[in-house]
């Protein structure tokens, strides 16, 4: 079907019509397809009679999660729903769309639904729907872009049917889950679905600006299915009648959307009125959109100026990062991401490649976790095609793939993956023979890449050519070649450019001078995405200054706002420093007690000049924590104070860790402890508090996260040879999985103790389910660790 040919009139609400017809609405109205097929067909017919050309099946909640406990299987319900719709539609020559709402559970990491399970559930529906004869697949009332992606992939990989997606937005232009209108449109356009749009939650007036915003960033056909205005929360009645509704739909018709219908509160009379208004209107095919966008599941970047790519999520040359990956310390990675976002990065490069590490598994986990805490688009960085594909599958936006080069084999492996998932791609101007010296030869490689991309349907706007930086200390002559190549590839191919900047100063003192100058030259040459450390003020300053001088930051508003504030802060900091207590008057212990992280770090740094790191840990940091811990136990201080002291101590520990890493010493650890919130439980604030405390007592915590299956706990305990496992459960319903986990640890014959904690547990109950220790709070977990690990 060409969706720009004819305007398609959709149907209106199903549920309320069924209620009007006195259908027995049980737990799962979709069962009516089997128990009362005539009723369903009657509703379909009531819309078809008024002029609906595409009806949605009554299968909104017919997924495996919501059908649990039903007498009928998902395929049975789906098949019946398509059959009913088909039979009703036939005399009218209308089409049938298989309606699929949300699964009803939340995906990891906020919920415990696995991406693959969501995929399987949608697969079951779409396969049955195609078999039963649906004309298209409709994902509607969706709120989570990642769930939509699972559905879209299931549809693309298992059926040949056209895919429509409509999501539901709140008045702030975001779904309940936080997806911005543009982020949705960009991601789904990249995924090459057939039509996108909005349904439910709001009336035509409120949805109009959102649909216009979709049109701005996407050239796909649009679908609009609003509610009949806004509901009265108490009665549930909507405030628009059929005529008013139809009148308010006219602006959508004028802008040329492809499909219109109604959602909650609309009835056949609404569609009748709409059909009248729609006479003479046709969809309008928009002009081709030549902008390049990148998006996360929530926000988007419109690449029209310089955008900084943060380079810090990468273990290369970073000892602490490597260690964090080996210890499965995902929080460390998350912290680096948040830090860069705060420093002004707009895209984050993500590389977790290390020898002897399960890069696929780790990359998937890191991508999932990062998208739960940062809103920035990700740049998936790996040399392995399998890793890139796995990451792109679970990424909820439009990513950038780092990278391909001019080698045929690499291009033919990576490009189909990027094309399939709608990612933009970085092309390095090098090949099997290395990096050519001349700009001309690099441009020639870029040309090869661009041509190859075209074969796979990747347009120049989504290609980011990296003309490669060589160290000025080694290849001084070639610095200008890089800059010339940037200029040339942009001019000739209409691509974007990306560049790792800092290599330029390799081997030189005061690298910042060289880096900043090179960055500035590269921006002038046309660099769009510098890959840099956003924590470097001089580099960020160069980017901000460039935007002023290039008349991109109009009136210098952004620059003035940002740097006036910084200037002010610096002035105040100087004053504060001048007025501060002279160093030496307060001890590390005092700072920790007051929860002053920066001062603790400074004091520890000072101590490191005269004392051994371990001496400071054992005789300053730990005793200070012990003291606060004892006060917490006695009820003298409360949880936020304990935590603020613990994080202050952490600042001290970090100084020690960095010192030891820099001096090539093995880092301080008093032993490893595995922590997990048990299967089924997704509330992990308690476990995280325990983690903070244990880490600040010098233990290495292997944090398995929440909703952790027993096998994973056993596996981790074995792999890391830990002597202590800590399990947390919040709900009575999940204490059973705690018991199961303990049993599995015992059955595996592991020589390790188990401590448990959580709101519903008691000492007695903990012993009953086979734990060795009951930890009533975070402080006690540190005491237990001391007993078990003897440190």
């Amino acid at each position: 079907m060409n969706l720009f040919d004819e305007l398609i009139i959709l149907d209106g609400a199903m549920g309320t019509e069924l209620v009007k017809k006195k259908a027995p609405m049980g737990h799962l109205p979709e069962e009516l397809n089997i128990t009362h097929p005539e009723l369903i067909k009657e509703v379909h017919r009531s819309y078809l009679e008024k002029g609906t050309k595409l009806i949605y099946t009554c299968s909104f909640g017919a997924n495996a999660y919501k059908c649990k406990g039903s007498k009928y299987t998902v395929p049975e319900i789906i098949t019946a729903s398509v059959k009913n719709a088909r039979e009703a539609a036939k005399p009218y020559g209308a089409m049938v769309g298989l309606s699929m709402g949300t699964i009803g559970d939340i995906l990891e990491p906020f919920g415990n639904l696995k991406f693959n399970d969501a995929y399987e559930m949608y697969k079951e529906m779409v396969v049955a729907g195609e078999k039963a004869g649906a004309d298209c697949l409709v994902f509607e009332t969706q709120t989570d872009l990642l769930e939509v992606k699972a559905g879209v992939l299931a549809a693309k990989e298992n059926t040949k049917l056209p895919i429509f997606v409509t999501m539901t937005f709140e008045s702030n232009g975001r779904t309940f889950n936080g997806t911005l209108v543009e982020a949705m449109a960009i991601t789904l356009t990249a995924l090459k679905v057939d039509a996108i749009g909005v349904n439910c939650s709001l009336g035509p007036d409120e949805l109009l600006p959102f649909v216009k915003r979709m049109r701005e960033v996407s050239d796909l056909p649009l679908i609009v299915k609003p509610n009949a205005g806004l509901p009265d929360p108490a009665t549930g009645a909507y405030d628009m009648g059929p005529e008013e509704f139809a009148e308010k739909m006219v602006p959508f018709l004028e802008m040329g959307v492809s499909m219109v219908g109604g959602c909650c509160g609309t009835a056949p009379e609404y569609i009748e009125a709409l059909v009248k208004k729609a006479k003479g209107f046709k969809p309008v095919k928009p002009e081709k959109n030549n902008k390049s966008y990148l998006s996360s599941g929530r926000e988007y970047v419109d690449v029209t100026r310089v955008h900084v790519v943060g380079e810090r999520i990468n273990p290369t040359g970073k000892k602490l990062f490597k260690e964090a990956l080996l210890n499965h310390d995902i929080d460390y990675v998350k912290a680096r991401a948040m830090e860069q976002a705060e420093a002004g990065a707009e895209i984050l490069d993500v590389n977790v490649g290390l020898p002897k590490i399960d890069e696929e598994g780790l990359m998937v986990e890191v991508v999932k976790e990062l998208q739960s805490v940062v809103d920035l688009p990700l740049q998936i960085d790996s040399s392995s095609a399998a890793v890139i594909e796995k990451a792109l599958r679970v990424y909820n936006g439009k990513a950038l793939v780092n990278s391909v080069n001019g080698e045929e084999k690499v291009l033919d492996t990576i490009l189909p993956i990027a094309a399939k998932y709608g990612a933009a791609v970085i092309g390095l101007t090098m090949d099997s023979e290395g990096i050519p010296e001349s700009a001309e030869k690099r441009v020639a490689i870029a040309e090869r890449i661009v041509k190859k991309c075209a074969e796979y349907g990747i347009e120049p706007k989504d290609i980011y050519i990296d003309c490669l930086t060589l160290a000025a200390s080694v290849q001084q002559k070639e610095v200008r070649e890089t800059l010339n190549a940037i200029r040339e590839v942009k001019r000739r191919f209409g691509v974007h450019t990306v560049l790792g900047v800092s290599n330029i100063s390799f081997g030189l003192p005061k690298r910042e001078y060289i880096n900043t100058t090179f960055l500035t030259l590269a921006m002038e040459a046309g660099l769009d995405l510098p890959i840099i450390n956003p924590n470097n003020d001089a580099m960020m300053g160069a980017v901000d200054a460039f935007h002023v001088l290039w008349n991109i930051d109009t009136s210098g508003n952004h620059y003035v706002e940002k740097y006036a504030a910084i200037q002010e802060r610096e002035k105040n900091a100087d004053k504060a420093a001048a007025a501060a207590t002279p160093a030496g008057e307060l001890t590390v212990g005092d700072y920790i007690k007051k929860g002053l992280g920066d001062s603790t770090a400074k004091a520890v740094k000072a101590l490191l000049e005269t004392r051994e790191p371990l001496d400071i840990v054992n005789n300053e940091l730990i005793p200070a924590l012990d003291k606060v811990g004892a006060e917490f136990e006695k009820g003298v201080i409360f949880l936020p104070q304990l935590l603020s002291s613990a994080t202050a101590a952490e600042s001290g520990f970090n100084v020690i860790k960095e010192y030891m890493a820099a001096h090539n010493a093995t880092t301080v650890s008093k032993g490893k402890i595995v922590l997990a919130t048990v299967k089924g439980d997704v509330h992990d604030i308690g476990k995280n508090i325990v983690k903070t405390i244990l880490e600040n007592y010098g233990y290495t915590v292997i944090d398995l996260g929440k909703d952790v299956p027993p096998e994973r706990v056993v596996e981790a305990a074995r792999e890391h040879q830990v002597k202590l496992v800590g399990l947390s459960a919040l709900m009575t319903t999940t204490v059973a999985s705690m018991e199961e986990t303990i049993k599995m640890i015992r059955d595996a014959g592991l020589d390790c103790k188990v401590m448990v904690g959580g709101a519903v547990l008691t000492e007695e109950f903990a012993m009953q389910i086979g734990a060795d220790y009951y930890s009533k709070d975070a402080k006690q977990s540190a005491d237990i660790a001391k007993i078990v690990l003897g440190a």
Partner: protein, 196 residues
């Protein structure tokens, strides 16, 4: 509905944090202030409610026309003498959870404070909703009662979610262990009657 936390909420927030009256350090004091301000930027109330007829049954309270009985002695006692009740679901939204998750990595002190602010915000919003309902109906609402209280099974949560259509109207879902998402969400029932 729009609710904001302010200094009057401080003592409740402190209570949720286990505060027992010691001196509060400057850092924690500042973080408290930050937590309240941040909460006010994050709270996005989603809610849905219905007024339904109820009648006492031997094993609990039946909700008329909804294929649903509230099981247990506790709820029967709680709704004794009422023939109507307000059922509602109220959440402060998923952005709040996301921020707690973020701060747990960045600033755990702020994370636990935010968490307590979230509890207080939901409670405050529930109070406001009850008041609003009283104005709408001209009736008085009783004390809230939620699934999991007394002998009312936690699994009743599922029926609340269903009859209130929370997924569509408030963005609230429930998992197999009856945990709701977003986390700072309340479902409850309270009796409704004319002022005596």
């Amino acid at each position: 509905m729009d609710i904001k936390l302010d200094t009057t909420d401080r003592s409740e927030i402190l209570r949720y944090l286990g505060y027992r009256g010691s001196e509060i350090t400057e850092v924690v004091e500042d973080t408290l202030k930050e937590g309240i301000e941040l909460s006010n930027r994050l709270i996005k109330i989603g809610m849905t409610y219905r007024f339904l007829s109820i009648c006492e049954k031997e094993n609990g309270v039946e909700v008329c026309g909804e294929n649903f009985t509230l099981q247990g002695k506790a709820i029967r006692k709680h709704l004794e003498g009422y023939d109507r009740a307000m059922f509602f679901c109220l959440t402060i939204g998923s952005a709040f959870d996301r921020e707690v998750e973020k701060q747990m990595v960045k600033n755990p002190t702020l994370a636990v404070i935010l968490n307590a602010c979230g509890i207080q915000a939901v409670e405050k919003a529930c109070d406001a909703l009850q008041l609003q309902a009283e104005e709408e109906t001209g009736m008085k609402t009783g004390v809230r009662f939620s699934p999991g209280y007394g002998d009312l099974p936690l699994s009743t949560q599922k029926d609340f979610i269903r009859i209130l259509n929370t997924e569509r109207l408030a963005g609230v879902t429930i998992n197999e262990n009856y945990l709701m998402n977003p986390r700072k969400t309340v479902t409850a029932v309270c009796g409704l009657k004319k002022e005596a």
